[in-house]
Symmetry: D2
Subunit: 340 residues, 4 copies
Amino acid sequence: MITVSIVGASGYTGRELIKILLKHPQVKIAHLTSETYKGKRISELHKGPAGFIDKRFEKLNIDKVAQDSDLIFLALPHGKSQKPVAEFFKKGKKVIDLSADYRLKDKSLYKRWYGLEHSYPRLLQRAVYGLPEIYKEEIKNSSLVANPGCYPTGVILGVAPLLAHGLGDGNSIIADAKSGVSGAGRRLDSAYYFSECHENLTAYNVGKHRHIPEIEQELSKISKEKITISFTPHLVPMDRGILSTIYLNFEGKVSLDRIWTVYKKYYRKAPFVKILPKATFPEVKNIVETNFCEIGLMVDKRTNRIIIITTIDNLVKGASGQAVQNMNLMFGFKETEGLL
Amino acid sequence: MITVSIVGASGYTGRELIKILLKHPQVKIAHLTSETYKGKRISELHKGPAGFIDKRFEKLNIDKVAQDSDLIFLALPHGKSQKPVAEFFKKGKKVIDLSADYRLKDKSLYKRWYGLEHSYPRLLQRAVYGLPEIYKEEIKNSSLVANPGCYPTGVILGVAPLLAHGLGDGNSIIADAKSGVSGAGRRLDSAYYFSECHENLTAYNVGKHRHIPEIEQELSKISKEKITISFTPHLVPMDRGILSTIYLNFEGKVSLDRIWTVYKKYYRKAPFVKILPKATFPEVKNIVETNFCEIGLMVDKRTNRIIIITTIDNLVKGASGQAVQNMNLMFGFKETEGLL
Amino acid sequence: MITVSIVGASGYTGRELIKILLKHPQVKIAHLTSETYKGKRISELHKGPAGFIDKRFEKLNIDKVAQDSDLIFLALPHGKSQKPVAEFFKKGKKVIDLSADYRLKDKSLYKRWYGLEHSYPRLLQRAVYGLPEIYKEEIKNSSLVANPGCYPTGVILGVAPLLAHGLGDGNSIIADAKSGVSGAGRRLDSAYYFSECHENLTAYNVGKHRHIPEIEQELSKISKEKITISFTPHLVPMDRGILSTIYLNFEGKVSLDRIWTVYKKYYRKAPFVKILPKATFPEVKNIVETNFCEIGLMVDKRTNRIIIITTIDNLVKGASGQAVQNMNLMFGFKETEGLL
Amino acid sequence: MITVSIVGASGYTGRELIKILLKHPQVKIAHLTSETYKGKRISELHKGPAGFIDKRFEKLNIDKVAQDSDLIFLALPHGKSQKPVAEFFKKGKKVIDLSADYRLKDKSLYKRWYGLEHSYPRLLQRAVYGLPEIYKEEIKNSSLVANPGCYPTGVILGVAPLLAHGLGDGNSIIADAKSGVSGAGRRLDSAYYFSECHENLTAYNVGKHRHIPEIEQELSKISKEKITISFTPHLVPMDRGILSTIYLNFEGKVSLDRIWTVYKKYYRKAPFVKILPKATFPEVKNIVETNFCEIGLMVDKRTNRIIIITTIDNLVKGASGQAVQNMNLMFGFKETEGLL
């Protein structure tokens, strides 16, 4: 039994984290902080089961949170996490950061894409990228996990087996991703109004989304060469879920049987990745409110392309569920504890 | 003032056609046929303004419809249109066929993708592909127009200017299209239930959709070389609209300025195509219930790709609105009559 | 041909007004004002056809707007309309005010429900309540029309024929109304976010909604006795439309035939009210984007209640369409001009 | 640990039951039957976690199911349950029937509202109405539980405390209920298509819904006088959830404080009923995918009415969750086991 706190618990990510942790048999929640909503009852803001906790948002007090917690989750906006993560880490606490602040190893990339200096470059090197299907052992031994972005989770899981086996041309990757509106979080922006999103569909940040360097960093590591990709996110009128349609060229002959076997083997120890039967494709509905990633595969011989379609719930496997999966690994719990 | 009839008027396409024609100042509706709903009041089936017509569905009587109509629209399922189109044509009537039956010039392609023999191969050669932005003069002089499919309209309009100018590699085209549920029509299939589509998202017919040969036929004509494309349709939880995200590789240097100017010029006489300001992208909401196609353009120098995003309303520019645009051209009305 | 301006043209009501007026053959638009968006292109804010106007939002200049306009529509928030309405009126202009500022004849009621003093109580008496089905002649001769609220339109039209004939107990009226989210307008409030409204349903302002005194004022006038009603509004996850389910007790025997005939007769000259066949009920989809009000009637003999269900589009018959209907009457155009 | 089977497991109710039971620590699933889908994998039909069971639908074999099960849930269409319930009961099995077949004590009422004879009138008398908040002791000792309908659950829980205390006029009750589309089940009917339900809202079976006699039977029992109510169901464009707005007249003075205290006390041992703070109202989102019923209360002194608003998830507290709650009581498990 461990005690955890959530710093920045008022957003959708915080809400999902509370909801999952309330059902986790090994966890007790100590503090839930929010600068915006401090003093307010959780249940006044968080609809549904996450509101079934009798606590109030508190102003962040680093010392108090550190003292009362074995693990701290931070679900703060990008840029706001740098300092508290460093402080908790210095106090010897285990930390899982759900922001982008500790994901990019190269601080110049962080500056270019996020417009911010990184004040803790050495700590950056100690952070482990929290994608358990790829870094399970590192996560087990880590005190600082940088929880992946939602889009990167869906895209990286979709192509990692190919790149790890040198199959297909990594630099031909086009990832066309479609996300539900909860991915935008709770920011006050009229673009996310019901009357604006409903019966609408749009692409955004075309070729410029901040998840691009994160995806490229990880794909480059896996394939051991520099990978550059096209990535286009879209906003779809649903609340939750991401479906990523990924295209990749291959030379010569590649059979679907071969590819499918590679994926099955690569993910044989990954309890949350499901490889669908050949040439069948996932639906968002199957994985909403779960920590699963479903993957469908197809080889298009007309165009010499492999088409991979992956689905995740952006708030679970794309954020809070994955954070709990990382917690399970860091504390030696069963990887699926609280997540099935 | 002309008199028109709609054969197969009970589907969503028929409904939209009625709705548009009721507002068209040059048109009177004679017959509306439906084998399934014959005898039923239009208003019992068609919700909204299309129901504001005091008529009943009739069983199709070729002679009677031909006698009373200057033009016949056919909105029948694929395969069902071959014969009545031929019969109306033989009687000297003008015909706009909204099915796929007269779109593919190569009857062996029709057989391969639709599983049917074509019984009127000579008539196939006389049909004009009804995309007014490309075949305006041919349509004006035609008696038989094969109205394009919804996905092909969005994709062809998106890349025609590039291919016509030999810009980019036509065989690198990947079209990732997302459609509202009305595109599935009124077929009785539990896949299109509210509880199945809502909060869901899925790809379907990956690499196998019947609109592929139609798109390839037209792109090959425009580029004067054989084009093979990747095309992936998706089902999005909204009623109407298609957004197509199209990727195309280029060699050497291509500036967005240049591309944008090419598009503006190519569509300078196309009243329903809007080229958006550079590096801005269309939203489905802007064109729903209109006959417009909006196009956004971007050049991604990191990956040497041109990204084109187009939006149409699948039931208007993707079907019934385009049919009326074709009618306007065939009868010498203003191209935009009844459509603004 | 008249020239009109819209003061406060950036909201959803303003957007619909622009959209309708652009198709109206007798109207030219002069000025569109918005304090928040002044200088911005209309098309940058208003999605869809309303954005197809090549104008920018201007800061309000009373003199200039008055000089260039035969009629001014005001679509400002409640409280903000009092003064400009008075100024335009003083300059001899015709005015249609879409806010609540000139709807309540009793300024103490205005103060109680809106928390504001009314500075123009005499002008209040000159304003005509713009429900054409009831005040057609007064509207024709008026220079100042107070356009009804959306809920009051649906409820008043639903029970006026009964109260005018002394049928049923006016003080037993319960109106349970359900509205789409666009009714909330474009206010920046996280309650109207997609992720909050979608897959949700709630009642709000139970027994306290500001439309209650407006409904009671009008029902009392029609029935010539003081009427008090129960009114409960609900927020439904759709963009547009209001469905009002209204219950009213009767004593003795009342047949549906009798009631139905009363409604048909009462609305025989009302081109936008449709009485549905006996014991059939309206759907929102039938009237969305139209100026129609559909009414379904039932007599429940088990409970001695008449049940009336009405539907309107909150942005059309409940706001901008009704305003144009009023304009048509004020200027001697055909009542349905631009609205069919 | 008990073993259960579900007869008629292919509908939405069956799906939710599987999903809940898979997480229940005291239950093992033996058979899942479906005449329509026999032989098909559960995961091919049931999207989401309910599909995470490695079983196939079987044809119903009464002997085999009885032999292998301690308890049988029946989720068959109305009329189809009569016989198998009787057979399982005769074999000494515990049974929870989710259809309406054993809910109405008066077989003539069953005939009038369902159009069917009841072949097991004596068994009807032995069935306990499975609303645990009212019949907890009877359920504990029962072998045959008739699980309540979804609308009755929301309405009865909403007014039971008042009627039990003789507060207000039971015969003035008007229940205006709004349900998500999943309430219609998986019947093949084009009325429940996405394109028909989305952006739509309608009332149906006004004054004629089959849940009326069920509600009246139970309210009459509670109040010890014959109660007749008005009940109007509506179809709302969301997947899950019912919100019921209930109006009831009172004579003399009734304070909200008094009413609220009555409710708190009445439900003090009901773990799934939440009485909200005075004059605040529930939202569907708060209880979706949970077994909770939330109740908001208001006294409207202007009209001498009590307004009660309740929310439930139609598939959980309105069906499968309540069935599991009943199972927990019948087998001596904790009432909330598997449901929190």
